[in-house]
């Protein structure tokens, strides 16, 4: 019941993000949306995911978006009314996905195929093999350690990408002068 009410709040937040024109409000609502998601993860036993979502999803993402708004504009100029082509596409996609869930195992079903293979091995043996009580930590840092190393590489690449794209603004201006970046075409 608590999950259904939280999901209802998430849906309400998402729909108001769709309608609002003030981008500052949209960004704050996206932080609230992430916090609702964190509470849902908590209720569904995913404690590690919950605090990562609260810190990274609701915290860092929101700060990054607010920074972008400070550097650009915080009002949406062109607000489109209902676009029927995309709406039809979205409804068809959603319908197909809902059809796909109809023969899925129900929520909380202990006999679902997802629980029957490697997960039970981690639960039974990770305490002996790795020695950390938190199974998520064991899997993340030991069994799937290379995956986490790859994740670090992705974050590093993204950081370099951000620096290359927006870094060293003043130098560029001085060098290229008036013809900078095609900004004079308007």
């Amino acid at each position: 019941m608590i999950i259904i009410s939280l999901l209802f709040f998430m849906t309400a937040t998402a729909i108001s993000m769709l309608w609002l024109r003030d981008l500052f409000a949209v960004v704050m609502l996206s932080g609230i949306y992430s916090l609702f998601a964190a509470v849902i993860y908590m209720v569904m036993d995913a404690v590690d995911v919950a605090f990562t979502e609260a810190a990274v999803g609701a915290g860092i993402s929101t700060v990054l978006m607010l920074g972008t708004l400070a550097l650009t504009k915080s009002k949406e100029k062109v607000h489109k009314k209902i676009a029927y082509g995309p709406l039809a596409l979205v409804l068809i996609t959603g319908g197909i996905l809902v059809y796909g869930t109809l023969d899925m195992p129900h929520y909380g079903d202990a006999n679902a195929p997802i629980h029957s293979h490697v997960a039970s091995r981690y639960i039974e043996k990770s305490g002996l093999e790795v020695g950390v009580p938190n199974i998520v930590t064991s899997v993340l840092a030991s069994y799937r350690g290379y995956d986490t190393l790859g994740e670090t590489a992705v974050v590093f690449t993204a950081a370099i990408g951000v620096l290359v794209i927006i870094g060293r603004r003043k130098k560029k201006r001085k060098k290229t002068g008036a013809v900078n970046d095609g900004g004079d075409i308007a």
């Binding site: 996206s30 949306y33 990274v56 972008t68 869930t101 129900h106 938190n134 993340l140 993204a158 075409i185």
Partner: protein, 126 residues
């Protein structure tokens, strides 16, 4: 019927959230709003995954002698990785938006296209 409903409602709401995000990405013209839509979609997928990992009567997957049933830790690990990678891609997208705003002076898709068309016409391109 009521059983099916209560068993699958989580997945359906997650799909509805995904579709709201998808609609924002394809139908809205503002670039920041598109990224917010992408985030909505992403979090909806996470909720879907975590829903699948829950076991009725289970607890958080932290080992203790007094506990019999644990929820599935594997979706948690996958989503933990996905959240961090998601923020990395969001940061890159936002940096691109800042750069686009510097070059075009706008973050509206329609105005950017307009400027591109004017530029193409002045250079004699089709």
């Amino acid at each position: 019927m009521a059983d099916t409903f209560s068993g699958l409602i989580n997945y359906w709401v997650a799909i509805a959230l995904m579709m709201i995000g998808f609609y924002i990405v394809i139908a809205q013209g503002n670039l920041v709003k598109k990224i917010v839509g992408l985030n909505i979609f992403q979090v909806a997928v996470f909720v879907f995954y975590i829903s699948m990992g829950k076991v009725k009567g289970g607890t958080a997957p932290i080992l203790d002698d007094s506990i019999e049933v644990y929820s599935n830790p594997l979706p948690h690990v996958l989503i933990l990785t996905a959240i961090v990678v998601g923020v990395a891609t969001t940061a890159l997208a936002l940096a691109l938006i800042v750069r686009i705003n510097r070059a075009y002076g706008t973050i509206e898709e329609s105005e950017i296209n307009e400027q591109d068309n004017v530029l193409d016409a002045s250079e004699g391109k089709p």
